[in-house]
């Protein structure tokens, strides 16, 4: 037995050393006396989220660096532990287990896919660690230890639909999505919102998540002749294939894409021009806080900078929110931090953030349109959009 546990502790120290080496670039070695507060970041380094994960890690890194430069949290340095959740359930279980039980982090702050988040929540509950979820998602996921500082459908859909109805006088809409929780959740909400405001949905079609052949759906769209089309596909390939095929078929009606981010839109080139997107962050937000943030990111990462986006900026702000909550509670003890997280606020690139609506956050939403050069022009902004009743049981 002794040999076994010493073997294991050797194994464990090997693992810890390796992790430390890997996150050497991310950990900050300030000369503090107290032991560090560890923030765990389980994120999709491989798998579907691997394109956006580096930007999330960079945002986290900048936040930690800035906090440590100003003395840390309660006099203790902050360190970052990044783990790969493979963008899926099985990987998330390993990553959450590793962070909570092996590395013994004080908090988890990150974005994952819904499958990964759902797989991690039981482990969060068992480990009793605060978890700030920083990704937009389909809503209504509730857990005693979780807060969300990103948007839900109730916040994202309204700007686009309102704009189409007002500006383009659109009455009939065609909805296209990927058949999974987020796609269906978004479009279900969109459908009821449209109908509540006097519009009509003349088509609502889904393809399997990995489907790339939109032919029959596009044919249906052309037969239905709607005034506008709104899509919510899985990120990455489905977005691109749908847009390409829509343009190839000559579809020119107003096109609102609920699931594309600035970076993907930029790389889509000419096909993306004219698409309307809605989110809580675009790089063109004209506020001092955003300009300062962008400058700091540029300075810290230089040529390696991955464009900040609607998934990475909430991460930055969430770390600051955690800092504020710990300072307010006076301790990292979970039982005290959890209620404090609802009471603190932070003025970040997206505006003033406070997670006080049933664990979710009222946000300023921006409606933008992709320009010919790939940039996104902000057309309208809507302040303090309410997330709605997300977790009534967790008042």
């Amino acid at each position: 037995m002794k040999r076994m546990s010493s073997l294991l502790s050797t194994g464990r120290s090997c693992g810890v050393t390796a992790a430390l080496l890997a996150s050497l670039a991310m950990a900050n070695h300030a000369a503090f006396a107290a032991d560090p507060i560890q923030i765990g970041v389980p994120v999709g380094l491989s798998g579907a989220n691997s394109v956006v994960a580096p930007s999330v890690v960079q945002a986290a890194q900048l936040a930690v660096d800035e906090i440590n430069a100003k003395g840390g949290i309660l006099g203790r340095p902050v360190s970052l532990e990044v783990a790969d959740d493979g963008s899926g359930a099985a990987g998330a279980q390993k990553a959450f287990d590793s962070l909570i039980f092996e590395k013994k982090v004080n908090a988890l702050i990150s974005m994952e896919t819904s499958a990964a988040r759902n797989a991690g929540l039981p482990i969060v509950t068992r480990g009793r660690v605060p978890f700030i979820y920083t990704s937009f998602y389909e809503g209504r996921s509730c857990n005693r230890y979780m807060y969300v500082d990103a948007w839900v459908p109730d916040q994202q859909v309204a700007p686009i639909v309102d704009y189409f109805m007002k500006q383009d006088k659109a009455k009939t809409f065609f909805l296209i999505g990927s058949d999974y929780a987020f796609g269906r959740g978004m479009l279900d909400f969109t459908k009821s919102y449209i109908e509540k405001h006097g519009g009509k949905v003349v088509g609502n079609e889904y393809l399997p998540m990995d489907g790339s052949d939109w032919t029959s759906i596009i044919s249906k769209l052309q037969a239905a002749k709607p005034d506008a089309v709104i899509t919510s596909t899985a990120g990455g390939a489905p977005n691109v294939t749908l847009t390409k095929q829509l343009r190839a078929a000559g579809v020119k009606i107003p096109y609102g894409n609920l699931a594309v981010d600035e970076g993907t839109a930029k790389s889509m080139g000419a096909d993306a021009q004219g698409i309307y997107i809605s989110g809580s962050y675009v790089t063109n937000i004209d506020t001092p806080a955003n300009h300062a943030f962008l400058a700091a990111m540029q300075k810290r990462f230089g040529a390696d900078l991955k464009t900040p986006n609607d998934l990475s900026v909430p991460e930055y702000e969430a770390i600051y929110l955690y800092k504020a909550a710990v300072e307010k509670a006076g301790t990292t003890d979970t039982a005290k931090v959890i209620p404090a997280l609802a009471q603190v606020s932070f003025a970040g690139p997206r505006g003033t953030i406070q997670m006080d609506r049933e664990r979710h956050t009222p946000l300023t939403m921006y409606l933008g349109q992709v320009q010919a050069d790939g940039s996104v022009k902000v057309i309208e902004s809507f302040k303090n959009v309410d997330p709605g009743e997300q977790c009534p049981a967790l008042k």
């Binding site: 380094l45 790969d84 092996e102 759902n118 929540l121 068992r126």
Partner: protein, 609 residues
Amino acid sequence: MADPVSTMPLRTGGVSAWKAPVAIGVAALVVLAVCSVTLPTFLVNNLIRAFLYAAVALTVDLLWGYTGILTFGQSAFFGIGAYAAGLIFTHAGFSLPLAVGALAAGLGAAWIVSRMVGWLAFYHGASPLYASVVTLVLPIVLVQGIYSGGEFTGSSSGLSGFDSIDIPLEAWFFVAGAFLVGLAVTAWLFVRSDAGRLMVAIRENEARCEYLGINVSRYKARLMDACAVIAAFAGFLFACVQMVVAPEYAGFVFGTELVIWVALGGRGSLIGPIIGAMSIDVGSAYLSGNLPYVWTLLVGVAFVVVIVAMPRGLAPLVAGVARQAMPRRRRIAPAPVTFVAAQQRAGGFADNTRPALSLRNVQKHFGSLRVLDDISFDARAGELLSLIGPNGAGKSTLMRCIADGAERSAGTVEIGGTEIRTLAPYDCVALGVGRKFQTATVFESLSVAEALRIARYRVAPPSKWERDSTLELPQPALDVLRLTGLDRIPERECRYLSHGQKQALELAMVLALEPRTVLLDEPTAGLTKQERTQIGEIFVELSSRYRMCLLLVEHDLDFVQQISSRIVVLHQGRIVMDGSVEEVVHSDLVRAVYAGDAHAAANQPEEEA
């Protein structure tokens, strides 16, 4: 088609074979109990998952490594068990009766799906490629079903947050570990048992098994049913301990991962999949975080290298090293077997007065090419009938038409008075006909005794747990074994037999079926003069003393002349002569046929026997 991968020997001496596995099992349980409280939480969490994955990998190995069915679909059954728990606990809540109900539902659903897969994939004449295709399509269809289930199934996000059996993590560690140990011990007993050797026989030579009267398709389907239920149970336990289910657990990527683990660990052994699954899964928990892409690349490369260059996987290497490290280990040998004479079965075929074989107007054509045309004759008990004719006359085709009901295009074949219609070979065997192939087809990895026991499968089904130390064989089979010396080497592996010995063994296997009629396809091919004389004596004895009907296809006309009681001459798919040895040997017609004077042959009228 046989993949030339042999099974790792997993035997210990001794008849009370169950003692060793059970003892090891109990020891493993003790180790588990101790580990559950001493290991750190992170490792305990990982090992719980790894134990359940290893259990599913074990089922993949039973199907693929042992029986030769490449399956990508065990993940689907794992997913069915998991979702049964997830769905019921999410929508109906949790309680002990509900848990039992969910388990029953999961196992039942897995069994039903397995029956469907079995119907699709395992039937006489199915290709192994098609079976693999079906197992590939299964998880894809299942996952799409889960995605389309919307909020009911949780779609791509899965279901989580449901209540489950509330026992501490250490207890779950013991439960999952005990499940794996129990499964491994049971599998060990089964694989070593006489019935378990059939899996290897099927993998190596499926056609031979069918012609020994074994309903191979049904065996495979039953095996898949058992493995499906086991995988579903593992999935159920997984959902209970993890309290989350997601489509990726039912998907085809997980299914291929299982195959990869088995291949790397060592297929055809029981410890291989366990080692492969556990080391790669636990390894990835520690390593993949640091090198996510490189890890997958390394596994991929290792997989390809193992498949191409080391098909038995890495376990045999490890075992080899272990064996060298423990040089005093006794060289393990299979249990010794003695052959005894079987009781004459009452109501055997000897009482039947109808002809052993009766063919009427049998025809076989491929498109417009007629291979057999209007073949009609009877063969009775005690006759030694030789079928001769130049190459391409249709002799082998005729043999196939007698033993396989689906082969002929028209006409009737009766065996012992019963029409075979379109019966598969294993059913034809049940009617009393045995077929010996032209090239000696035995089971390379099995011993002489094991091969003969497989041949007795239909008559005396072997035990699923035990290894019998005696084997009953009918007298004709024993005679063949004694005459050729095979009865003195029952434990020798078939691959080490000489060509003549293999021919004799196959004949003994066919005779072990206690057939009334034996079809022999060029039995003297490749034999020495002495062996030829020997086997000729055996044939004569079989027909005269044991009253069997023998039908021989032969090219060696001297041999035919010496032993036959009757000769049928075939030419271009028709019977041109059917008579006694003297008549045929002195016939001008036959000489013309063999010399190639087809015109003269076609013009001669047929002669009745």
